[in-house]
Amino acid sequence: MKAILAVMYREYKIRISSLTWLFYDLLMPFAYLLIFGIGFDRAFSTGIMLSGEFVTYNDFFLAGVLSMACFGIAINTSYGFFVDRDNGIFYEFLTYPMTRGQFLLGKITFNCATSLVQTLIAVLLGAWVLEIGIRWELLLFVLAAVVLGTSGWFFFLTIFALRIRRNDMFNTFINVAYFVLLFVSSLFYPIEPLPGWMQTVAYANPLTWHTDALRYFTIGLGDLSTIALELVGFVLFLLASFWLAVRSIQRLI
């Protein structure tokens, strides 16, 4: 536990060393919702058909924004490995009295806390400013899903950040991953109207699983048995990624 707290303490020190970064981190999802969401809300003024019901685009998109925010924090945190490696401190960390797993857990615990704060800001302002119909009784599940999502994506990206040793190559990887995962998922639009092959890919995409769960927990739309299955899938994805990420640290030097 002491080791995990030490990693969190260091993440905290790094984060408050740049206030712009902190500000951006916390407000980004809401800003996204405000600008992108309002644009689409006006463009699709009839709303979006989901599970046989019409919802406004803002209602629909809140889960997408939260899911994207988890992914974004995971990207930032995994980029941190490149900075730490260039500074050499990464290798020194690995000689400190902690396990590889504790190191990753400490990093992600702090960043999950950031995710939670930005989620609360987006949900509260979304409900107040954009009048999104939040299912408040499910808020705790939203927060739990945010923790799962941020950790899952962080462990997944860590595998690549540690194996792809070049910053510029990792950049390309992130661009491709971002493009495929975000656009072939339920993040920006519902999956049902998509062509068959795209549906197949989208349903195999952990980002869809995570976004669907968030959508159910924020506005109560979706099929509960499907969501349960998707959540189990995401937890398995998280565990497998964690295991591979820990293994990737060993191969690093």
Partner: protein, 317 residues
């Protein structure tokens, strides 16, 4: 309590890089370090010193062989090993975007100190290594030598049983080198075991209770500093004084293929492999009308080092 702090047996490390021939960085290295000793790993660039330290500090798995720190297997009990060591890596390691003070703080926390203890010890090493005026500066704004000083200062914040120093004093000015050497000595007196690598042989001679000279992944010599120097017992060190140096005399002396030869303003120092050469050398020197006097002594660690790592592989075994 096991009197052996570090036990290395037959360590082999082969680096495999895609598209490149494998590199056999360690080719069966064995040594043991008793508790409370200062132990030196010496050797030319690429000899395998850092590779050895990386294996001992759980950064790198060995290809074969075994290594134990305080009885813990580095491969199978890495966490136990890490709880008992602290390390200065050869490469710089610092959180460049944090202040010097915050670097010390995070280091203390990582090594299990509470907030108050961390502050006390951070203040202590800041003073010891004369870093006070840079306390609030970010590391990215500090000079290379200062970064190194901080990196070394950190290990003196915590009480770990075994300390690894990979060329700790590189890039430091003379005063801080002295501080580091004094601090290392003091730590050893407290009963800690210290393993260091260095290229500064005078430093090794001053600090080490025992040492090994590693060359191309193998041990070329080992023992106490005196033992290792004895390998060169047949070497003779001759110092000759002249009123003025004559290039022709220098050329004549070179003919004796000394292990090393150094010329200063008015003196020539040579290390000779054969005692029988001494008289011939002196005869050659006396032919110079500016010759004043001479001194004969034993070999230095440096002479042994130079000779050992220059030998072709077959001889050095």
């Amino acid at each position: 309590m096991n009197p052996i702090a570090i036990d290395v047996k037959n360590l082999v490390k082969v680096y495999h890089k895609r598209g490149q021939p494998p590199v056999r960085a360690l080719d069966g290295i064995s040594f043991a370090v008793p508790r409370g000793q200062i132990f030196g790993l010496l050797g030319p660039n690429g000899a395998g010193k850092t590779t050895t330290l990386k294996i001992l500090t759980t950064l790198l798995p060995a290809t074969s062989g075994s290594a134990h720190i305080l009885g813990f297997d580095v491969e199978r009990q890495p966490f136990e090993v890490r709880k008992n060591i602290c390390v200065v890596l050869q490469e710089n390691a610092a959180d460049l975007y944090l202040s010097l003070r915050d670097n010390l703080r995070t280091y203390g926390r990582f090594h299990g100190l509470d907030a108050r203890e961390t502050e006390t010890r951070a203040n202590h090493v800041t003073e010891l290594f004369d870093l006070g005026e840079y306390r609030n500066q970010r590391l990215i704004d500090l000079s290379g030598g200062l970064k190194r000083r901080l990196q070394v200062a950190k290990v003196f914040m915590v009480d770990k049983q075994v300390v690894f120093l990979d060329e700790a004093t590189t890039g430091m000015d003379a005063i801080n080198k002295r501080t580091t050497i004094q601090a290392i000595k003091q730590e050893a007196r407290k009963g800690r075991t210290i393993v260091l690598t260095t290229h500064i042989l005078a430093e090794a001679e001053e600090l080490c209770d025992s040492l090994v000279i590693v060359d191309r992944g193998r041990i070329a010599a080992s023992g106490s500093v005196e033992d290792v120097k004895l390998i060169g017992f047949k070497f003779v060190h001759v110092t000759m004084m002249f009123r003025r140096l004559n290039p022709r005399t220098i050329a004549a002396l070179r003919q004796f293929t000394p292990v090393s030869m150094e010329t200063r303003n008015t003196s020539i120092e040579m290390t000779l492999k054969k005692e029988s050469d001494v008289l011939k050398v002196l005869r050659a020197a006396k032919r110079d009308k500016n010759f004043v006097n001479f001194e004969v002594g034993g070999a230095t660690l440096e002479d042994v080092f130079v000779e050992l790592v220059r030998m072709p592989r077959e001889e050095s075994r």
